[in-house]
C-alpha cells in the first residue's frame, strides 16, 4: 500500500487501560498475533485513577457473600436496566480474575489470616472490594502492564486512531491513526479489533476523567456502523473536589465513606438521612446510632445512607447545594477527620491525604473536605453480546467503559475494575477466536486515504476557529444543559447547540505542524466528543423517565415501560437516529433473586 506505514495483525486492541491490557493478554495467549495501540504512554491510562477497589464476591471478609448477592446488588444499583447476562458473568467470574492478578504479582491488602482483604463500598451488601490502599487502579494497570510486557506483546504508544476501516461486507478490517510524535499516519490491518478506549468525561466541564476520555471508541464504533445503547446514562460521582478551581472535579474516593466518612451540610447535619428512597429503605439505617454501629457489625445493622448508590448520593448533594445549605465553595462537607484517628486515615487513604494536602492545603485528618458531583463514568456504550463482547459489526469487539449494558442505569463503585478484567478477558478471547477462523481482508488504499485526507484537512482551514475554545463551549453546553438534572426544553436546546458546534468543528483551523501538535489532536478528539454528546442528548430526550444516572425533572420517577427498553443510537443516512430496543428478559431462576428479598 504505497509508502503508507502498515502493520498486519490478527487482533488489534485499541486502548491500554485495564480492559485493553487484559484483552491483549488473552488474545495473545489464545494464539493470535496481537497489537496494543494506545493514545498515551503505556501505563498512564485512566485506570490508574481508580482508587477504591475491585468488586468480587470472594467472601474473604463475609463468608455469606457469593455471586448471587453481587449480581443482585449490581442489578439493583443499575436500576434493573443492566444486561442481566453481563451482570451474571461479571459476578461469577470476578473472583477468579482477582486471584489471577495475584498470580501475576499484584499485592492486595491482606486480612489478618493472610487472604485478600475486602472493603465496603456504596451499594454492595458486603465488604467486597479487593484493594490496595486507595490506589487499586494503579496496582491493576501496573500488574497487567508488566504481564503484557513479559509476554512480549507489541505495544504502539502515543498513537491516536482516527477511524476504523470496514470491508465491503460491513466487517471491520483495520484502523487508521497517526503517531502523535511525528503526525505521520499508520494503518493497522487486522482481522478483529477490540475497542477498550474508556469513557467520555472530557465532554463535561467538571469531570474526574483524564484528557484521553474523549469517547473515541464510542465514536469509532458508531462511524463503523455499530449500535450504541443507553448513552443518556452518565454517572456523576457524588464526591469530586470543588476547590481550588483548577482541581474541580478531581475524584475523592468512595472509600472515604466506606471507611467511615460522612456527608454534612453547612449546618453540620448528616443530611443523607433525609434522602433515603423507598427503593432502598429496607436496607438502609434510618438513625445515626444504627448507621454508626454498622461499620463493625454488618449482620445486625443496616448500612449508613452515605453508602447508597452513587446516583442517589449525587442527587442529594445537588439538592442540598441548590437549597442553600452547601459549603463555602458550592459543595458539601465530607468529614472523616472527626470520625477516625489521624494515623488510620493516613494509612487507609494515603492518596486522598496527599491530594488534599498538596492541591487544596487541607489536612483531611483535621478538617472536612469540600466535595460535589463530578462527571465520572458512562454506563451506556457500544452494544455487545454478553458472552463474547462482540458488537453489531463483525470483527469488532468492545470491553470496559466503552461497552454498554453491564451497569444498567448506574454503576456501583468497584464494579468497573472487575468489569475491565472479566470482559477484557472475554473480548480478547472472542476476538482471537474470531480472527483465527476468518481470513484477512486487506484494507483498500482509497479507504485509508479518505481518512488521512480528512485528518489533514484541519491544517488547510483558515476559519480562525480554535479547538480549545470550541472544547470549552462544548463542555459548558453539556454541563449546563445535559448535567445531573435534565429537562426536555434544555435537552432540545442542547441538541440545537450541538448542531452549531458540529458545524464549527468541521471548520476548525489548526496552527503549527504535524509533530506533537495538541491543537490538532484536540480537533480530532472533538469529533468523537461531539458524536458522543449527540447520542447522550438524543437518548436523554427520548428516555422520558428518571432512572439511575439519568434524572429528568419533568419525569421524576422511573417508568416501568422504559425499564425493558435500551435506547439505541446508530448512524442512519449520516445522521444519528434513536430507536427503542427491547432488553433481553431475565430467566426465571435469576428473577427469583429479586422477589424473595424485596
Amino acid at each position: 500500500m504505497s509508502d503508507q506505514e502498515t502493520h498486519h495483525y490478527d487482533v488489534v486492541v485499541i486502548g491500554a487501560g485495564g480492559a485493553g491490557l487484559r484483552a491483549a493478554i488473552e488474545s495473545l495467549t489464545t494464539g493470535a498475533r496481537t497489537a496494543l495501540v494506545c493514545k498515551s504512554l503505556l501505563g498512564k491510562a485512566h485506570t490508574v485513577m481508580a482508587e477504591g477497589g475491585v468488586a468480587a464476591a470472594m467472601g474473604n471478609v463475609w463468608p455469606e457473600d457469593n455471586w448471587k448477592v453481587h449480581f443482585r446488588d449490581t442489578m439493583r444499583g443499575g436500576k434493573m436496566l443492566n444486561n442481566w447476562r453481563m451482570a451474571q458473568l461479571h459476578a461469577q467470574e470476578a473472583p477468579e480474575r482477582v486471584y489471577e492478578l495475584e498470580e501475576w504479582g499484584a499485592l492486595f491488602d491482606r486480612t489478618p489470616d493472610g487472604r485478600i482483604l475486602q472493603r465496603d463500598f456504596g451499594g454492595h451488601r458486603f465488604a467486597r472490594l479487593a484493594h490496595v490502599g486507595d490506589r487499586t487502579g494503579l496496582e491493576l494497570i501496573r500488574t497487567l502492564q508488566q504481564r503484557a510486557v513479559g509476554l512480549g506483546i507489541d505495544v504502539f504508544m502515543e498513537c491516536k486512531i482516527v477511524r476504523l476501516l470496514v470491508d465491503r461486507d460491513g466487517a471491520t478490517n483495520g484502523a487508521v491513526g497517526f503517531w502523535r510524535e511525528s503526525g505521520r499516519f499508520v494503518t493497522f490491518a487486522a482481522k478483529a479489533i477490540v475497542l477498550a478506549t474508556g469513557g467520555v468525561g472530557k465532554t463535561w466541564q467538571f469531570t474526574s476523567n483524564s484528557w484521553e476520555s474523549t469517547g473515541d471508541g464510542h465514536a469509532l464504533a458508531l462511524w463503523a456502523g455499530a449500535d450504541l445503547i443507553d448513552m443518556e446514562c452518565v454517572q456523576f460521582h457524588p464526591t469530586g473536589m470543588v476547590w481550588p478551581p483548577s482541581a474541580r472535579g478531581l475524584l475523592v474516593t468512595e472509600g472515604v465513606r466506606g471507611d467511615g466518612g460522612v456527608l454534612k451540610n453547612i449546618d453540620g447535619e448528616r443530611f443523607m438521612f433525609n434522602y433515603i428512597s423507598p427503593y432502598f429503605a429496607a436496607e438502609t439505617a434510618d438513625t445515626i446510632a444504627e448507621a454508626d454501629k454498622w461499620y463493625t457489625n454488618k449482620a445486625d445493622y443496616r448500612r449508613p445512607p452515605e453508602l447508597l448508590p452513587r446516583d442517589e448520593v449525587a442527587r442529594a448533594i445537588n439538592t442540598e447545594v441548590k437549597s442553600g445549605r452547601g459549603s463555602p465553595h458550592g459543595g458539601v462537607f465530607l468529614d472523616i477527620a472527626s470520625r477516625r484517628p489521624a494515623e488510620e486515615i493516613r494509612r487507609r487513604l494515603p492518596s486522598m491525604y496527599h491530594q488534599f494536602k498538596q492541591l487544596a492545603d487541607v489536612d483531611i485528618t483535621t478538617d472536612a473536605m469540600e466535595v460535589g458531583p463530578t462527571c465520572h463514568y458512562i454506563m451506556g456504550g457500544v452494544r455487545v453480546e454478553a458472552d463474547t463482547a462482540a458488537t453489531t459489526v463483525p470483527g469488532l469487539f468492545a470491553a470496559g467503559e466503552v461497552a454498554g449494558g453491564m451497569h444498567g442505569a448506574n454503576r456501583l463503585g468497584g464494579n468497573s475494575l472487575s468489569d475491565l478484567l472479566v470482559f477484557g478477558r472475554r473480548a480478547g478471547l472472542a476476538a482471537a477466536q474470531y480472527a483465527l477462523s476468518h481470513p484477512a481482508v486487506a484494507p483498500t488504499e482509497s479507504a485509508v486515504v479518505s481518512v488521512t485526507e480528512h485528518a489533514l484537512s484541519f491544517f488547510a482551514h483558515d476559519s480562525g476557529e480554535n479547538p480549545y475554545a470550541l472544547h470549552q463551549d462544548l463542555q459548558e453546553t453539556m454541563q449546563s444543559l445535559v448535567g445531573i438534572i435534565r429537562v426536555e426544553s434544555e435537552l432540545v436546546e442542547a441538541r440545537e447547540k450541538l448542531a452549531e458546534l458540529a458545524e464549527r468543528a468541521s471548520k476548525l483551523s489548526v496552527e503549527g505542524n504535524r509533530s506533537f501538535n495538541p491543537g490538532w489532536h484536540l480537533a480530532l478528539d472533538l469529533e468523537s466528543m461531539l458524536a458522543c454528546a449527540f447520542c447522550t442528548t438524543l437518548g436523554a430526550i427520548e428516555r422520558r423517565e428518571s432512572r439511575g444516572g439519568h434524572t429528568r425533572d419533568d419525569y421524576p420517577t422511573p417508568d416501568p415501560a422504559f425499564e425493558t427498553i435500551n435506547m439505541v443510537t446508530r448512524l442512519s443516512g449520516g445522521e444519528v437516529a434513536v430507536t427503542h430496543l427491547p432488553r433481553p428478559a431475565m430467566p426465571a431462576e435469576l428473577a427469583e433473586l429479586f422477589e424473595e428479598s424485596k
Partner: protein, 291 residues
C-alpha cells in the same frame, strides 16, 4: 480573592534540532498548579505547545518537567509554592527532546522489557496466603507512578548517555527490589541485577530519592538492600537462561541477549573506575537546587 497578579512563565519551545525559552505573560488565577498555567498558555497563546499529561492528580506520572530547574510533576506543583517572579519550565534534561516539554522516554520502556518477570511458586490448594507485614515494603515500591524523574536526575545516565546500555536506573532498581522481596516470587535475579542491570554503578547519591513524588525511599529501601543481596552472587548467563526458560514462557529476547553482551564487555561497570563524588553535592551537578 487576592489582588490581580501577573504570571511570567518561560517555556522551552523547540525540538531535537534546537530551541529556546519563550516568555508568556498572563494573569494569575486562584489555586492553580503549573500545569494549569501551561494549559492556559496552550489554549490562548500557543495551541501547538506540546506537553504530556493525563490525570492532573499526581497519579499517572506523565507531566514530569523541570520547574525552575527542579525536576517535578507539573500537576502537583502549586503556583503559590514557587518564589514570586519569573518561572521557567523546561523538559526533563535526562532524555532526548521530542518537542517543547515532551521528551523521548522510550529508554525506560526498553529496560522494562528486559526485567525477568514475576515467577510465583505454584498455587497451594486454598490459594496464596501472605501477611500484611510481608508485603508492606513491596507495596511501597508499587506506589511508583513511572514519572521517570528519578531516571532523569540519576547522574549515571544523565551525564553519560552510553551508560543507558548497561544501567537500569533507579526506577528499575525499585522494580527489581519489588520482585526480589515479593513473598511469592521464586526467581533468583541477584547475579543478573549486579551484572546486566549494572547496580554497581550507583554510588548512592540519593538524588533519585529526593525527587520521587511518591516518597519512595529508593536508595535506602530498594538500592542498598539490593546491593547487599547481590554482593556474593555470580552471574552465570547459561544457568540463568536455563532457569528462565524452564520457569517462563518467553525466551530471552535478542535485545536482552545483546544487552548482556554489551554489559559483559563494558569496563565501565565498576564504580571505582569513574570519579563520581559520592557526596550530596552531586545534587548541584544535576542542576538540582538543594532543598
Amino acid at each position: 480573592m487576592p489582588e490581580e497578579r501577573e504570571i511570567v512563565m518561560k517555556l522551552w519551545r523547540g525540538d531535537a534540532g534546537g530551541g529556546a525559552f519563550e516568555t508568556y505573560k498572563l494573569p494569575a488565577q486562584e489555586g492553580e498548579v503549573v500545569l494549569d498555567v501551561v494549559h492556559r498558555i496552550q489554549a490562548t497563546k500557543a495551541p501547538d505547545l506540546a506537553v504530556r499529561w493525563n490525570c492532573k492528580a499526581g497519579k499517572c506520572g506523565s507531566c514530569s518537567a523541570e520547574i525552575n530547574g527542579r525536576p517535578r510533576l507539573m500537576c502537583m506543583t502549586r503556583m503559590s509554592s514557587l518564589p514570586i517572579g519569573e518561572i521557567t519550565v523546561s523538559p526533563m534534561r535526562g532524555f532526548p527532546i521530542m518537542r517543547d516539554l515532551v521528551t523521548d522516554v522510550s529508554y525506560n520502556f526498553e529496560v522494562a522489557k528486559q526485567i525477568p518477570s514475576f515467577t510465583p511458586a505454584p498455587k497451594p490448594p486454598g490459594g496464596y496466603r501472605m501477611s500484611q507485614v510481608d508485603i508492606d515494603r513491596g507495596q511501597e515500591f508499587h506506589k511508583c507512578i513511572e514519572c521517570f524523574l528519578c531516571q532523569n536526575v540519576c547522574h549515571v545516565i544523565r551525564d553519560h548517555e552510553d551508560n543507558k546500555r548497561v544501567y537500569a536506573g533507579p526506577r528499575f532498581f525499585v522494580r527489581l527490589a519489588e520482585l526480589e522481596m515479593h513473598p511469592l516470587d521464586t526467581l533468583d535475579r541477584r547475579a543478573y541485577i549486579s551484572e546486566a542491570m549494572g547496580i554497581g554503578l550507583c554510588n548512592i547519591t540519593k538524588c533519585c530519592t529526593e525527587v520521587c513524588p511518591e516518597d519512595i525511599h529508593i536508595t535506602d529501601n530498594a538500592i542498598i538492600p539490593l546491593k547487599e543481596r547481590v554482593v556474593d552472587a555470580r552471574y552465570d548467563p547459561v544457568a540463568w537462561l536455563g532457569r528462565k526458560l524452564l520457569g517462563r514462557p518467553a525466551p530471552l529476547s535478542a535485545v536482552q541477549a545483546a544487552r548482556y553482551t554489551g554489559a559483559a564487555s563494558s569496563a565501565a561497570r565498576s564504580p571505582s573506575a569513574r570519579a563520581v563524588p559520592a557526596s550530596p553535592e552531586t545534587a548541584s551537578s544535576t542542576g538540582l537546587p538543594a532543598d
